[in-house]
Symmetry: C2
Subunit: 423 residues, 2 copies
């Protein structure tokens, strides 16, 4: 971790830089995968699975009807986490709006669930069952009827048992063993087995990212743009150095492109945390990832608290831990962050798994304009208006005037005809 002592504001934009994303030129490849999925459907998906995953599958649908057994303590933990996530997302349900904007003019906003949601879960060493919880529970609470999981098969053509169990606990029956850009193409276009999705959610590699980008440009919603995970810890001397170090490491172990930032007002605190980092990192299994991530990472000392606040907002962290005296009082100063963790007993891992908030959050500075996944991600709004005779008499002449000024005679006429009948 490199330390910057009271850096000039002019240098902040470079201090806020994330690791460069690989400027991969995958567009042509992904477009060719889309074209093949569009013309050949399921057959193309099975062929890609044979080619890229090295597994010959008979069909795409995974039969998840036999109850899967996992460590009962883990099952209990998943159920408890699910309960917290459900509770927090249920509380996000927006109220319908129903008002008279003027006498006789009633306007409403109603909410409806999306119909079909695709959840992509990558393969690899770690089974991301927590991401199944974070994407499926808000969709279920929103009232989505058709939710399916897309995930590549393991080497034997099977599915990780914890993913299988998590889907069973949530009542998600549709799991398709297909991964990569071809899985996203299937959700974007629809095939014989896989229904075209209204939204495609979930993390993935650069092929998945490019395929989600293409889906979005064709009018399918996606959860948010992809980027490596990141954490900013904003601390003062009320923090415990070993806790801060453990939080920085829990972010750093995600991957070598993860970024962690420590922001505080004292070099001594930085040094203390650095010593804890050096000590704790030795015991990590994922030490190679963590070491690389720490090379991209920064400790920033700013004496002035106003500048600290400005820095947080300019960086716009995915995860923001505030361990300062009266941490809660800083909430109203934060404009840009994905999720905020307050105090010494709120590690990032809590939000990653079980507190109830969503862990699908905007990275890479996108917290400036994107929100994390929420109940609203899976809802759309419809407006309604109803005007009675009195309302039309009052509002009609205004509409006529405005339509005329926009040179739209038929718009005006639709009102004039009615007003004439109401004379």
């Amino acid at each position: 971790m490199k330390t910057y002592n009271n850096p000039e504001k002019s240098s902040w934009s470079s201090l806020c830089k994330r690791a460069q994303l690989e400027a991969s030129n995958l567009q042509e490849l992904v477009e060719s995968i889309y074209a093949k999925v569009a013309s050949e459907g399921d057959k193309a998906l099975l062929a890609y699975t044979a080619q890229f995953d090295g597994v010959d599958l008979k069909g795409l649908k995974y039969d998840n009807t036999t109850e899967t057994s996992i460590d009962p303590e883990l099952e209990k933990a998943i159920k408890d986490a699910a309960r917290n996530i459900r509770k927090f997302h249920k509380a996000q349900r927006p109220n319908d709006v129903d008002i008279e904007t003027m006498p006789g003019v009633r306007c409403q906003m109603l909410y409806r669930p999306l119909e079909t949601v695709a959840i992509y879960i990558p393969g690899g060493t770690a089974p991301l069952f927590s991401t199944v919880l974070m994407l499926a529970i808000p969709a279920l609470e929103a009232g989505v009827k058709n939710i399916y999981i897309l995930t590549p098969p393991d080497k034997t053509g099977g599915l990780n048992p914890v993913i299988s169990k998590t889907a069973q606990l949530l009542g998600i029956q549709d799991i398709f063993l297909v991964g990569g850009a071809q899985a996203i193409a299937a959700a974007a276009l629809g095939t014989e087995s896989i229904t075209k999705a209204d939204i495609i959610t979930g993390p993935g590699n650069q092929y998945v990212t490019e395929a989600k980008n293409l889906a979005q440009s064709e009018g399918v919603l996606i959860d948010m743009p992809a980027g490596p995970s990141e954490l900013l810890v904003w601390a003062d001397n009320t923090c415990k150095a070993k806790y801060v170090a453990s939080d920085l490491l829990s972010q750093a172990e995600h991957g070598s492109d993860s970024q962690v930032i420590l922001l505080c007002d004292s070099i001594e605190l930085v040094n203390e945390i650095q010593m804890e980092l050096d000590k704790q990192i030795q015991n990590l299994e994922r030490i190679t990832f963590a070491e690389k991530a720490l090379q991209n990472s920064r400790a920033i000392v700013l004496a002035d608290e106003g500048l600290q606040i400005d820095f947080v907002n300019q960086y716009a962290p995915e995860h923001l831990i505030i361990v300062k005296n009266n941490a809660r009082e800083y909430l109203n100063k934060i404009e840009n962050a994905g999720s905020i963790f307050l105090g010494n007993y709120t590690p990032e891992s809590a939000g990653d798994y079980a507190s109830g908030t969503n862990h699908t959050l905007p990275t890479y500075g996108f917290a400036k304009n994107y929100s994390g996944v929420s109940l609203r991600t899976f809802l759309k709004s419809i407006t309604v208006q109803e005007i009675d005779e009195k309302g039309m008499r009052a509002i009609g002449p205004k509409i006529e005037k405005m339509a005329e000024a926009e040179l739209l005679g038929a718009h005006k006429n639709a009102v004039t005809l009615r007003l004439n009948d109401l004379l």
Copy 2:
């Protein structure tokens, strides 16, 4: 308008087809415009304005400080419409969420306005001042600090007075005279004069659409995908044929690619409305557009009401007028629509201008997954969690278990360290 009498369900997908979008291959051109704007900034914008709009401007910023005079009746209409729009969008403000998901685990959702909003208003014959209202008022109500308008200069290098006045009435001071893909590139990238936007909103031609698409793929939000405007009128014999015809025409006059659909249960009603169409169209200034649009349009007769509901939801209209006995009772059957208009005295023009609802709505079937512009368009959400010692004791072991199962040792360790101190 072609009539379909009780068409088979298998034919519905072709009946729901919109006019083909021009498969323009503008990507390379728009990418080259982005590249020039990125490297040359304002200078590139002025050069493109000279090239495409035929006007040599000294600077981009339009001086809108001198008060503009317009027809006082029109000014009054704009003010009254603005008041209704403000009232309806203010009522959409979401409540912060603040709950304990379990004892000692507090979770919150807070909302923050986006910082910078770009509003694109196309040039052309009709000055779209109503779109300024529909995009700026929700942004202002959301609390956005930096709102600017991008619009091409007229032939003399000036600005339409009604656009100028509308901006003055709303207090929007920043207007930049630049149009086309270069305007969108400026908002997506930022230049010396124009701040990089968090969201780019507003309608435009195929160059603007392609440029918004590119902005979105680089992580700038856009309001929604573009497509020609459309209307479905769902009627029974309680409707007035001349009103329905006037509504169909007000949609048809938008452009030759507009689409109007009439859905009802009787051929007689179709014929009656068709006669009114033939009569009213003769008096329209925009008869050429309307006639062409009606060629793409359909009257669909379905005897069964359940099938009518299915058809509406499959078509997913941008605008849906319901003129049926007890029209309001059908609201809970509608899953997919941008905005709904109930009864004989609620023409589409009312929502286009003045009822209070937003007229920036999803077209082209995107009402299946997109929402119209609302207050929420200009807000982002941030989650917060705070766990106390009691909460950590309860939730900690669950987090450890889940982190371990995802093979993330440092995530587990961040909790273990804390739990050890709480023994």
